[in-house]
């Protein structure tokens, strides 16, 4: 289910003194099965952009084609679109409301008008996919830890069987262990369920290890749209817009400058380790 964004612009509070151009002429193509990192610092428009993908925001100009169909055309069901493009919000607290985890996950598929058995089957499947077993079914979502809440929130969207999964800063405010777990989970979901994943973040570190493409937004415009290694080469420019390349990129670039024959595209710790060992063994 490819998504095509054509010349999308979005203006907040049009016609008031609070007017602000959040997105400025964005054109993008998102293919099937991609794992994309959408990066930008606070206020760069990344959250605004993803809320266009499932029709929560209405573009001021430009259009979005999902499967070749304009999502704002007459008679297009936004409700169905929301089943296809699943959006997980930044804070799980915004969506958890039921007294039991299982029931909460049932909310999405239930809204899709599925039969009760189907809803239950999907909810259980989704919870299993995010690594929560039966012992969690009857717990209150409000008693869970931050990481577990996030898992339930992701399961709540997964149960709707989206073809595209969009996550708004799923690792915000988490400890390193919880963050690694969530990122590993996303990678696993992407591979096993063959869905397109769009990961919104302001941290290159987070996305370096899992995505195959990075889109950098700055002040509502696309700054870079490339493979991670291609984007990280612009470390200096990234710093100018309040971002940074992963720490390992800096290490490798420093080594390269010192005359070591390393490949500076290594951006995660394991990659850097392998690369350094390779060069050392060679010498």
């Amino acid at each position: 289910m490819p998504i095509r964004i054509e010349h999308l612009s979005y203006i907040y509070g049009e016609g008031t003194s609070f007017e602000k151009k959040a997105l400025d002429d964005i054109s993008l193509e998102i293919g099937d099965g991609e794992f994309i990192g959408l990066i930008g610092h606070t206020g760069s428009g990344k959250s605004t952009l993803i809320q266009h993908l499932n029709g929560l925001n209405k573009a001021s100009s430009g259009r979005i084609l999902v499967d070749g169909e304009d999502i704002r055309s007459e008679g297009y069901s936004l409700k169905k679109l929301r089943g296809k493009v699943g959006l997980v919000f930044q804070y799980p607290e915004y969506q958890l409301f039921e007294a039991e985890v299982l029931k909460d996950v049932c909310f999405g598929p239930h809204n899709q008008g599925l039969s009760d058995e189907e809803v239950l089957a999907r909810a259980k499947e989704a919870l299993a996919a995010v690594g929560l077993d039966e012992s969690y079914y009857e717990k209150s979502p409000f008693d869970l830890s931050g990481g577990q809440k996030r898992r339930v929130a992701i399961a709540g969207i997964l149960a709707m069987k989206p073809k595209v999964l969009v996550l708004d800063e799923p690792t915000a405010g988490m400890d390193p262990k919880g963050r690694d777990e969530i990122l590993a989970l996303l990678k696993e979901l992407h591979e096993s369920q063959n869905i397109t994943v769009i990961l919104v973040s302001h941290s290159m570190e987070d996305v370096a290890g899992c995505v195959s493409r990075i889109i950098v937004l700055d002040e509502g415009k696309i700054l870079y749209d490339d493979a991670p290694s291609g984007v990280f080469r612009h470390a200096r420019e990234l710093e100018k817009v309040g971002l940074a390349a992963p720490q390992m990129t800096y290490v490798m670039q420093a080594l390269l400058k010192d005359g070591w024959d390393v490949n500076a595209d290594a951006s995660t710790v394991p990659q850097a380790r392998d690369e350094i060992l390779r060069v050392l063994n060679k010498g």
Binding site: S17, L56, R82, G86, Y94, F97, G108, N111, M160
Partner: protein
């Protein structure tokens, strides 16, 4: 839908109205509202309209922000007007089925519509040009005298400022929760009244949880900074009257005099 409520929403600006002492604005609003109820005649409404138009002009706030507040209470206004229209006894004007419209009823309905809408616009001028903090500051200083009869002025002012401060935050939060649930296929707009009420549960539960969490955090943060109530608390920006404030008070008196005079000499009443 929630964005329609203008009360408690500040419109940033630097006009003279924005810079007036909040106490002046509070008194001014009060004088204006009282005048609406004390002088009910066409001539009085003309004077009030003129004053409103001039004040809104000076404040540099786009008039549509004031009118937004009206939209939110439109139903209330309609109900009030209808009740007055049909339920006031007096000289019968029209009668059909079981309903009668009396001369007095018609008059009351028109009066109520004028008064309510002017009341809302008048107080919108105040809330749009005064930050909630200034407003409660003004109230606290203005009502200081009540402390003598053990009225907890500071506590009430603090509660008010917190409540006002949280309106935009909670509205923002509501908006986000609505989006998060819509992303899961929730439908807040269609269906009968029962279905609509049920659809609110996924909105209200996270909202309440968020409100309690915020209240808790705020209490903790205030305590951490040594908050202990109003006793001996000094202000960073003490309220001091300036020339423009005294001039405003004079203008209020002038307004009341004009109102009195129009009632006495050129009173135009409804032709009923």
């Amino acid at each position: 839908m929630l964005k329609d409520i203008t009360l408690g929403q500040y419109y940033p600006g630097t006009s003279i109205i924005h810079r007036l002492d909040p106490r002046v604005k509070l008194v001014g609003t009060l004088v204006f509202i009282i005048s609406l109820f004390a002088f009910g005649s066409i001539s009085a409404y003309i004077v009030a309209t003129a004053v409103l138009v001039i004040v809104i002009r000076i404040s540099e706030v786009p008039p549509k922000f004031m009118l937004k507040g009206l939209r939110a209470i439109f139903v209330l206004m309609l109900i009030t007007a209808l009740f007055n229209l049909f339920l006031t006894p007096g000289t019968v004007l029209v009668r059909f089925w079981k309903l009668t419209i009396t001369q007095e009823g018609l008059r009351m309905a028109i009066h109520m519509a004028f008064r309510l809408s002017y009341l809302i616009i008048g107080s919108s001028v105040m809330t749009l040009t005064t930050t909630p903090n200034q407003l409660t500051d003004g109230l606290e200083t203005g009502l200081r005298g009540l402390k003598k009869i053990h009225f907890p002025v500071h506590e009430v002012a603090m509660m008010m400022s917190i409540a006002l401060r949280f309106i935009p935050i909670l509205m923002d939060e509501t908006d986000k929760i609505i989006r998060a649930q819509e992303a899961r296929g929730a439908d807040f707009d269609s269906g009968g009244i029962i279905k609509k009420a049920k659809a609110l549960v996924p909105l209200l539960v996270p909202l309440f949880v968020a409100a309690f969490r915020r209240a808790n955090d705020l209490a903790m943060a205030m305590e951490a900074r040594g908050y202990h109530g109003g006793e001996g608390r000094t202000k960073m920006k003490p309220l001091v009257y300036k020339t423009r404030d005294y001039v405003s008070y004079l203008l209020f008196v002038l307004y009341l005099i004009v109102m009195f005079l129009t009632r006495k000499y050129i009173k135009i009443d409804f032709p009923l």
